[in-house]
């Protein structure tokens, strides 16, 4: 297993470099600099700013500088705050959102998927499956506002915006419900379909019949004999799911006005805040690759037919 991890890390480095390069050059090749649009800035001040941020140096030098000093670079648009600071402040918010969403996704998804698989093609199956269909087809940016409309504006059960209660300090508050549900629902739907499919696949296998012939109870058949195989598709999905959650967080944070990293990323892309953009991209890329590594290790551990090769 150690060799596997090492090999992965080796693979990762060129990928990350590519990501950094692509991001950097995409930003810089677009005409215009980060300060061009500031109308209050005169030409001389602009030159000074450019110098301060090393924007007058040749591109490849800038690139190397960025890579090596990334977390300590200053954001262009947030004066006196480094990229590292911003990320460490905003990321925990996004992480919590993602975590809650994932809990909803896995909890509801697996539960309903298993239930649906036990009585296929009956109402017990049709209802969760239809809900799942809706979840997959209703985009988050449609569902979010709709949920806000119904549950906040009309029914007043949950606040529409904000995060962490009045002061933003609470670990769990009612304003976290709608965003988490919106973000997680799509994945719950997808996971429930995967679970249902995986379980159905397993439940029709001969070895389930063998288990029953040994006198195993229904619950035992599900928990001990079926879940491990049935959930494999779900675990494979975790990789893309994490990437998707991150992408989804951009929209959710925008809609619900949550002070997370996603919101900042979109803004910084629009504002040409190169350092922040690069910082966020690299951060997310590394995070995703790390999480994917964990998912892959998990897959091999749970499926005896796979080996670390």
């Amino acid at each position: 297993m150690l060799k596997f991890i090492l090999r992965r890390i080796l693979e990762t480095i060129p990928v990350l470099l590519c990501v950094a390069a692509m991001t950097f050059f995409m930003c810089r090749l677009a005409p215009g600099g980060p300060f061009d649009e500031d109308k209050q800035v005169t030409a001389e001040v602009r030159e000074l700013l450019n110098k301060q941020f090393n924007l007058d140096q040749p591109l490849h030098k800038q690139f190397i500088q960025y890579i090596t000093h990334l977390p300590t670079l200053q954001s262009f648009k947030y004066p006196n705050r480094t990229v590292g600071e911003i990320i460490s402040q905003k990321f925990p918010v996004s992480a919590k959102l993602g975590f809650f969403a994932m809990c909803i996704a896995l909890g509801l998804g697996i539960l309903f998927g298993v239930i649906a698989s036990l009585r296929p093609n009956t109402y017990v199956d049709y209802i969760p499956s239809s809900l799942a269909m809706i979840g997959i087809c209703l985009p988050t940016f449609v569902m979010g506002p709709l949920l806000m409309l119904v549950f906040s504006l009309q029914l007043g059960w949950f606040p529409a915006t904000g995060w962490g209660g009045f002061d933003g300090d609470l670990f769990f508050s009612s304003d976290m419900v709608l965003p988490s549900v919106t973000l997680g629902f799509f994945y719950a739907a997808y996971i429930s379909r995967l679970t249902r499919g995986g379980m159905l696949d397993i439940l029709t296998q001969d070895y389930i019949r063998t288990a029953k012939a040994k006198g195993a109870s229904g619950l035992r058949v599900i928990l001990k004999h079926s879940l491990r195989g049935g959930l494999l598709p779900v675990i494979s999905f975790m990789g893309p799911a994490i990437a998707g959650l991150i992408a989804g967080s951009f929209v959710i944070e925008t809609i619900f006005n949550i002070p997370g990293l996603g919101q900042d990323f979109v803004k910084s892309a629009f504002n040409r805040d190169y350092t922040l953009v690069l910082g966020v991209v690299m951060f997310y890329a590394t995070l995703i690759i790390l999480l994917n590594l964990i998912v892959d290790i998990l897959q091999v551990t749970l499926n005896p037919k796979l080996k670390f090769d």
Partner: protein, 320 residues
Amino acid sequence: MNDTPTRADAPDTVEKGESLWVGAWHRLRKNKMALAGGVFILLLAGLSFMGPFFLEGDYYTNTVLEDKLQPPGGDYPLGADHLGRDQLGRIIKGGQISLLVGLVATFVSLTIGIGYGTISGYFGGKVDSVMMRLVDILYSLPFVIFVILLMVFAKDLGDSIDAWFKARGSEFSISGQWNMLLLFVAIGAVEWLTMARIVRGQVMSLRQQEFIEACISLGLPTRRIIFRHMVPNVLGPVIVYTTLTIPAVMLLEAFLSFLGLGVQPPTPSWGLLIKDGADRMREAWWMLVFPGALFAITLFSFNFVGDGLRDALDPKTSKD
């Protein structure tokens, strides 16, 4: 005395087997949801592409400011938006755009995906390992981030080019179409991964199938093998995933438009309409609900058809 033996002739009935496609068609016909979805899509496509012939030219840009934010009824069957434009017209045009993006971007991802997958599956070995590893890595990266950056970059480039032309006194504007083109390519470039995987899987397993070896040993020419035996077997999953890629692509486009990076106003797309609707949710619920519902139902329909096709074409999963 015994009766003379009157043994009925043992019936030599050989059941008429049905080809994969015929069987699939039968199974599909039985799937009501898939049929409903298919009908809906056809109706929608008809409305979007033919409908405009019956409407006045500016049906989606006609701003009548006095009528702004009219609720549904009368002149404005689906309401008017914040600039007094008829929602119905905008939704139809939006449908055109969204469907167009769906089809073209899917085509792009199909092309890339099939090409990539076939090469990887056919050659196998080291080539395949490397190519698939690349796909794995790309699959887990949030491509969306790149698309966002790309669109920002494209938008700026487009704006600059426009400014350049304007400065020379020309009305030429590239940004609109340029944007669309890049949108197609960007979205297509995100979605090809799944198709590549599917195609590669099919090609690989086909190559190893005994019936291909049988074909070779029977002396069938290579072209015949490919076209009569391999292509039909790859076609099935490709069709299924194409039908499932279209809604994914439409979703991505709407997502980008929602962030302001997709189709640019005043051209409507459903994503833009939904964004406008979400912004004005409190005053004008019809701006959100109608485009949102229509969008969701369209995605629904595509997914049902795709699912139905998948169940129909894979005899192992038939529910009988």
